[in-house]
């Protein structure tokens, strides 16, 4: 049976609620309505209003309350309706949750779920890919699954993790990706990248929805005799540097691909690590394919021009392969 990305996340959450009575959900419209994207549909019916809390429209209170509940031994899973609205809870996440363990040895085992990304004509306030804000804050873990299998395994791992996890779910993947996933209980370790496709000529380092763009391009260039290896980071923090460097040493050519805008994006960090630690293995410049430095526009031709896609990646792959 095929499981979609959204079903996989839902299954993971419900299984964790079944397994651990300390797990509870809070967020806007997550109970009666089942969440703006129906990720938590059915949770209220199954677990009741005590464990599935519809909150006021108060992102800061949602994350703050999750932190406070975690101090008392609970494991809250908080939903931000859109990753864009996480900015309203920024202080709680970056100034408090991220620093408690370091400052005063108080673990904050919370998960903040953030539906992110473009391609759904959401416009500037409902499309951002803002993981870099959090990757720049020590103390947070940043997780971005690209597949249904990983989405379930990682949400379960995130709920069991004893540090605050920002869990970015790509909205365009919710119902687009369907695949066989292992039955029942399994986790995917946070901090471990996956080789999404094995290749020998050129490495694409990417994550989230862009993994599928890379896979599309890999199929096309395979017919031209270019073998792409795709590294799906799955988590940015902790960053699986070893897997990236191993692939780079093998292929000697790298493109870093992400949907987020370029300047200050996590891609810059990946490029820096590669040039610092595998420079002598490189046979060409380390390139980036990202969105340009603009807000995410609404109108379809503008949004299409904004988002990295197969054509944009293809051009760079051909150029670098011939370098």
């Amino acid at each position: 049976m095929l499981t979609s990305y959204v079903e996989a996340i839902r299954e993971g959450i419900l299984e964790e609620m079944e397994r651990d009575p300390n797990v509870f959900l809070l967020g806007e419209d997550i109970g009666v309505y089942g969440g703006a994207f129906k990720v938590t549909a059915g949770a209220l019916e199954r677990f009741g209003a005590r464990r599935v809390i519809d909150t006021p429209i108060s992102e800061s209170a949602i994350v703050g309350a999750a932190i406070g509940a975690s101090f008392m031994g609970l494991r809250p899973v908080a939903e931000m309706q859109f990753a864009d609205f996480i900015s309203c809870a920024f202080d709680q996440i970056v100034n408090f949750a991220a620093k408690c363990r370091y400052r005063w040895n108080a673990p904050v085992p919370i998960v903040v779920r953030a539906p992110c990304g473009g391609g759904i004509h959401g416009g500037p306030f409902h499309s951002q890919q803002n993981e870099a804000w959090f990757a720049h804050t020590p103390g947070l873990k940043v997780v971005l699954p690209a597949t249904a299998r990983d989405a379930k395994g990682l949400i379960k791992a995130a709920i069991r993790d004893n540090d605050p996890v920002i869990f970015f779910e790509h909205k365009a993947l919710y119902r687009k990706i369907k695949e066989e996933i292992p039955p029942g209980d399994y986790t995917v370790p946070i901090g471990k990248a996956a080789i999404h496709r094995v290749g020998r000529d050129l490495t694409i380092v990417t994550y989230s929805a862009m993994v599928h763009v890379a896979a599309q391009v890999a199929e096309i260039v395979a017919r031209e005799g270019i073998s792409l290896e795709i590294v799906d980071l799955r988590t940015l923090v902790p960053f699986d540097e070893a897997t990236v460097l191993e692939s780079v040493r093998k292929t000697s050519k790298v493109i870093v691909l992400h949907e987020a805008t370029m300047t200050g994006g996590f891609g810059g960090e990946i490029v820096a690590r590669i040039t610092e630690k595998a420079f002598e293995y490189l046979d060409g410049p380390v390139l980036r394919v990202t969105a340009p430095d603009t807000p995410v526009p609404y109108s379809p031709p503008l949004e299409a021009a904004f988002l990295p896609d197969a054509d944009k990646l293809l051009a760079k792959v051909r150029w670098l392969a011939a370098y």
């Binding site: 008392m72 400052r103 103390g139």
Partner: protein, 337 residues
């Protein structure tokens, strides 16, 4: 004027629970005053405390009255003017001095300074520097206690200025909707850094904000430890009974600048003059003498004992080592020692 009482009456008064509680009040208020005096007026000026110093001089009745009204299983979210809450929960003056001096024996082992400290095992949550941010966190802790079927309550502390921030309103709104067992203690010392109350809000009292959330509130004399104690008992009973949050606004005055580097030139001198007549410690002592709960000699002896305790604590704290730079990278995440 107090009337001299015959010896047997005095003895009974001395042994009464009121007398016993008063002596506890006095001990913690005087200890807080003494520890903060040393930090602000000696260690800071001697360069032994380098970072920010924020004290609660003149406001000691607030943490002491409310802190002793709480049960040991209640949770505190102190503000930076509530040092006594830490002592009530068993944190020692030595740990506090070490904390201020950035030493290993401080509650955060040198990772944070001054009042930015906590210990979950003692029910003390470290403050978030932008104070109102504590309110949603306290709301969540209170929701969790209810979730767990416990009848403990959460006490969260903040100043008048904090009530201007969105977090304060979001946290209270969530807590009232959820009927979370939360006691909100406002230290209204009339200044938020240099900004006086009338530039902070257009209503006369912080308590005026409460009806907007369907929450009871009361205004108490913030320099009367007994009044605060009684109000906190009422508030905690309300919250414990499942009736939701309760706000106590303690009207007091900040007898210092915002911090040790701030001479508070913007505060009219006569305000300091006026409020110095209402020192919460002196008022308590007077009440203790009037009721024959203690003699002058006993009170003096208590102050003496505290001074010695504090001298010793500073000595011990100064012997505490600084953290080693090799510890810098540890404990950002779990399993990093």
């Amino acid at each position: 004027m107090p009337v001299a009482k015959p010896e047997p009456a005095r003895k009974n008064a001395f042994q009464s629970t009121d007398a016993e509680l008063s002596r506890k009040f006095l001990y913690y208020m005087a200890l807080m005053r003494e520890v903060e005096e040393r930090i602000e007026r000696r260690l800071y000026r001697q360069g032994k405390v380098l970072g920010g110093v924020y004290v609660g001089r003149g406001q000691e009745a607030i943490p002491v009255g409310s802190g002793l009204a709480a049960r040991p299983d209640d949770i505190f979210f102190p503000s930076h003017r509530d040092l006594a809450l830490y002592f009530i929960r068993g944190v020692t003056p030595k740990q506090v001095f070490a904390q201020y001096m950035g030493r290993r024996d401080g509650l955060t082992q040198g990772r944070d300074g001054n009042m930015h400290m906590g210990d979950l095992s003692k029910g003390l949550v470290a403050i978030i520097s932008a104070m109102a941010a504590s309110v949603p966190v306290a709301a969540g802790a209170a929701m969790a206690l209810k979730y767990q079927g416990k009848d403990s309550v959460v006490f969260v502390y903040f100043g008048d200025g904090a009530t201007s921030r969105g977090d304060w309103h979001e946290g209270i709104n969530l807590a009232t909707v959820q009927k979370a067992p939360l006691v909100l203690v406002c230290n209204n010392n009339q200044y938020a850094y240099s900004t006086p109350l009338d530039k902070q809000m257009a209503c006369a009292n912080v308590a005026d904000r409460a009806p907007g959330y369907g929450m009871p509130a009361e205004i108490v004399d913030g320099n009367d430890v007994w009044a605060i104690y009684e109000a906190a008992k009422r508030a905690a009973a309300h919250a414990r009974a499942g009736l939701g949050p309760y706000l106590i606004e303690c009207k007091t005055f900040r007898m210092t600048g915002h911090s040790a580097h701030d001479p508070a030139d913007y505060v009219p001198k006569d305000l300091f003059q006026k409020w110095s007549q209402r020192c919460p410690i002196q008022q308590l002592e007077k009440r203790m003498l009037d009721n024959s709960w203690a003699s002058r000699q006993e009170i003096d002896a208590l102050h003496q004992q505290i001074k010695q305790e504090v001298d010793q604590a500073i000595e011990q704290a100064e012997q505490s080592p600084y953290p080693d730079p090799s510890e810098l990278l540890l404990r950002v995440y779990e399993n990093e020692a």
